[in-house]
Amino acid sequence: MGESGGEVLVSEKVSKRYLPGGPFAVKEVDLRLRAGEVVSMVGPNGAGKSTLVQMMLGLLIPDGGSIRIFGRDVVAERRRIAHRINYASTDLSLPYALTVRENLLTYALIYNMKRPRERVSRLLALLGLESFADRKVGALSTGQVARMGIAKALVNDPEILFLDEPTATLDPEVSGQLRHLLAGMVRERGMALLYTSHNMREVERFSDRIVLMREGEIAAQGTAASLMERYKTQDLEALFLLLAERKDVAVA
């Protein structure tokens, strides 16, 4: 069950420092995500996006604040949440010596899916991976590995999907297909999608809400149109540069 108002993720005053007394990687971040919502997080490298996502996934424990997913505390009840969420990142891969099909079957089993082979066949078709389903990961192109990673992230029909730069290594055509696929899942199944990206055009077209992070804090958030209007910029790229480079610009 989600929290009131269809909120599936609520982070309140979440902070993280990697070293005691060191700089904040994330500082008092409040962020909410609703079912069926696409939220993109943008910000310069080191802004705290990945750290925040890693805390939401239970990979890191916040120093302060709390993160609740489906009303459950991520730190205390990760195992009761993990089967309903998933994650893909271009930084990660899957064992090179296995084929795409074998890797997906591994994760269908790990996620305790019933009829795992059928599930894998459906995913291969859904992501257009059938032509190289029986090829070893080590023989795939970077873009194909990224698509396989996304297939893995969809293996359990997640209710919240976290994607770290999902289209960074994909060509425009495949990126478009992937966005179309994800948009369908968001629309039809009410999946919530939280993703990070440096592709401002994609962010602008694809997101319901944009969260701009700077130095561990949320510098601004809203729809693309509302943000551009508030900061009087022509496009998101200009807004990104404004907030990233000009620390004197007030946050909202």
Partner: protein, 273 residues
Amino acid sequence: MPDGPEPVSLFAWRPMAGILYRQAVLYRRSLPRWMEIFYWPLLDLLVWGFLTLYLKRIPSFLPSAVVSLLGALLLWDMLYRAQQGISVMFLEEIWSRNLIHLLVAPVTPYHIVFAAIVSSFGKVLLSSTVAATLAYFLFSFKIFSLGIDLLFFIGALLAMGWALGIMTTAVILRFGQEAEVLAWGVIFLFQPFSAVFNPVAVLPPFAAALSRFVPASYVFEGMRSLLTVGTMPLRDLFMAYLLDGVYMAGAVFLYAGVIRRARRRGFHLKLGS
């Protein structure tokens, strides 16, 4: 969702089957992996087997000592493989940049370790069966001429190997791939004090004192006792399992501590990148 996911209990079989399935596939088509299982035991067996052929020709040499050498060799290999099975499986997750996928999945670090233990048991069983068969055909050595009681000692050795494997995994998780040399080397730190080929009685005092804290020393002493006296040395067996219990508790404590610390400091997120 009719075929949707269910919460994963600690005893769910599918996640475990998933991790083991992957190991099985890796071995199914990899010749170097099969060689790794059989290559070293075979070479060791040949070297030590030929030595025993020579020793048998020395009139003053006791036949039981020859049996003891080959028996010790086979048992040592089981210990080595039990430890390595855990550590190397973990390293493979790091090398393939897959560890984070597993940590995000609805399995606990204990599922991963338990799957590694099952997988390592399979490898030990396979390589030991082959080595014991070769020892029989090449050197007429029957491992169970030492008695079926030997199985209890083998159990104690495997438990020590797994405890050391978990400790090594914890250290690799903490210090990263710089510590991966431990996966291959840590067991040899224990070898001089394990009384593998020689009785504890011949060790210098400091080494003999250290060997009292090594479960394997009781196993190998027990094996020799089985050979010479022919009865089960229950005290050795008890001490081996007692120390195994201490090692395993220490290993789980260390592993849990490192996982807890990793989730605070994030050092596991950089592994393999």
